[in-house]
């Protein structure tokens, strides 16, 4: 009887919830088709080959290499977004204000409250992988020496994901991000675990770098040897659809370095840089133009040709452009 009454009452629920479920399923179908497509089997092969490459040593300055790769993708997204209105930032009292209205002083005032530097605090970020956007690889020389080092290849898988929870009220639920997983760097450390609820946690020590801004950011994880994580990304074959991340850092164009993001923001210089969106966009646009207009390569023999080709292809396919359409 109770169930009957609840079912009857459900008939009158808000139209917006019906539409939401309807639309999401529509999108979900597309995503599943892409995940299930045989065309994606190449990514499975990448993982398999990665499992064999246990002997690879990454001795390049990782930050410099990843920074450029991050920038390529970030630049595309930034280009797409540059004409959009400023994204909101949430202050302590949850008042929405524009990024342009925040002065450095404002930020300094707010940070101690918004980002507690407490060793007990956690900064879990729940993500729902949505779609494998593409993959690319780049070559590099071990020891960073073009003449003496052995040539190796790094392979990445770019995955679009949606943030499932607010992150310190700073990044909103529903924000879409790109994650680039490096596939062929393996570790013997048991650093990825799945709890009973199905959440996947990755040890902060194993994190690579991340670019972050208010609209999107890109994770780099140096270890994707764990098949269950990969399966989770490749169609949700693990116990749940969520991936949890702790402890990130991001690239600050202003300081041209990676800023740690441990237990909240311990160094807020990066946030200032992030909020200085014009500077960020200019930097990324310049970087992007350089990459597209030349045979760009960075030091240490890290050739980016394949990455560039992949990005070009993604632009052609309008994969980036379509992602922010609501």
């Amino acid at each position: 009887m109770n169930g009957d009454r609840l079912m009857t009452a459900l008939q009158g629920i808000d139209d917006k919830y019906l539409e939401e479920a309807c639309v999401l399923i529509g999108i979900g179908n597309e995503v599943i088709l892409k995940f299930a497509s045989k065309e994606q089997s190449c990514t499975v092969d990448v993982t398999r080959s990665a499992t064999k490459n246990t002997g690879i040593h990454i001795v390049l300055p990782t930050a410099a290499c990843l920074m450029v790769i991050c920038s390529i993708i970030f630049a595309v997204v930034s280009n797409t977004l540059k004409n959009e209105r400023p994204k909101p930032v949430y202050t302590d009292d949850s008042t929405v204000i524009s990024t342009e209205q925040l002065s450095t002083e404002d930020i300094n005032k707010q940070l101690p409250y918004r980002y507690p530097n407490d060793s007990n605090s956690t900064s879990l970020l729940l993500l729902k992988p949505m779609e494998i956007v593409g993959e690319y690889s780049n070559q590099y020389y071990e020891n960073g020496n073009k003449d003496k080092g052995n040539k190796s290849i790094r392979q990445y898988l770019i995955v679009k994901a949606e943030i499932m929870t607010d992150y310190y009220n700073h990044i909103s639920e529903g924000t879409e991000i790109f994650i680039a997983f490096r596939l062929n760097y393996l570790s013997e450390v048991g650093d990825i675990s799945i709890d009973k609820a199905g959440d996947i946690t990755i040890d902060p020590k194993e994190f690579g770098e991340v670019i972050l801004n208010l609209d999107c950011f890109i994770y780099y994880i140096d270890d994707l040897r764990n098949d269950t994580l990969y399966e989770g990304l490749n169609g949700g074959k693990v116990d749940d659809e969520l991936v949890s991340f702790e402890n990130i850092s991001f690239y600050s164009p202003k300081h041209d370095e990676m800023i740690p993001f441990v237990n909240g923001i311990t160094d807020y210089r990066g946030i200032q840089a992030l909020l200085d969106k014009n500077r960020v966009n200019r930097h990324l646009e310049d970087m992007f133009k350089r990459i597209l207009n030349s045979d760009f390569s960075i030091s240490q023999g890290c050739v980016m040709d394949e990455a560039i080709e992949t990005v070009k292809k993604l632009i052609e396919l309008k994969l980036f452009g379509g992602i922010y359409e609501k």
Partner: protein, 185 residues
């Protein structure tokens, strides 16, 4: 064709209105009806009946959301058909959903008689607003669209077990929510 165009066809009393409606929403309407009835022929009849209902109501009604308006009609007609067909013997997803929702309120409890359906709907709307998007979609897909666990898992790209777990947690939350508001006594 967008919803506005379809509504305009209804207002113009054009037969194409039904064609366009069916082209755009026919599949999901049949899915909802089949979920309730577990019988394709019955489901088709219910969908056609819902189309006729819309034909008779538009105009003068101009639905704010054509999809929600249509789906509500389909669900309502299908449930009535189900109750008519199964006075004694319950079957299909509708019956399963009722059983699951019954567990939300403990056996020793019942929903207070003086709570009207409208109030209960309002509580459920409020409750849905407290859920994260994924949990809400799963809940609505299960108890409104009456999708099977397998189907929800498939379209959302997650495991069936994950759907069950989330739904179980959501039902537990709903129980607490209703308890706190004195709905279950």
């Amino acid at each position: 064709m967008d919803d506005k165009g379809i509504i305009n066809l209804f207002f113009a009393r054009s037969d194409k209105a039904i064609d366009e409606l069916d082209k755009k929403y026919g599949k999901i309407c049949k899915s909802v009806a089949e979920n309730v009835l577990s019988d394709k022929r019955d489901a088709e009849e219910c969908v056609n009946e819902a189309y006729l209902q819309l034909w008779n109501k538009i105009p003068p009604v101009t639905p704010a959301s054509l999809s929600a308006y249509l789906l509500k009609a389909v669900r309502n007609i299908s449930i009535n058909r189900h109750l008519h067909n199964n006075v004694e013997k319950r079957r299909g997803n509708y019956a399963l959903c009722i059983d699951e929702l019954s567990e939300t309120v403990a056996v020793s409890q019942s929903i207070a008689e003086d709570i009207s359906e409208k109030e209960l709907t309002s509580y459920i709307n409020e409750f849905l607003g407290t859920l994260d998007k994924m949990s809400r979609v799963i809940f609505v897909r299960r108890f409104w669209y009456m999708d099977s666990y397998e189907s929800i898992a498939k379209v959302l790209g997650i495991k069936e077990g994950a759907v069950r777990t989330r739904l179980s947690r959501t039902r537990a939350k709903l129980k607490i929510f209703l308890d706190e508001r004195g709905v279950a006594i």
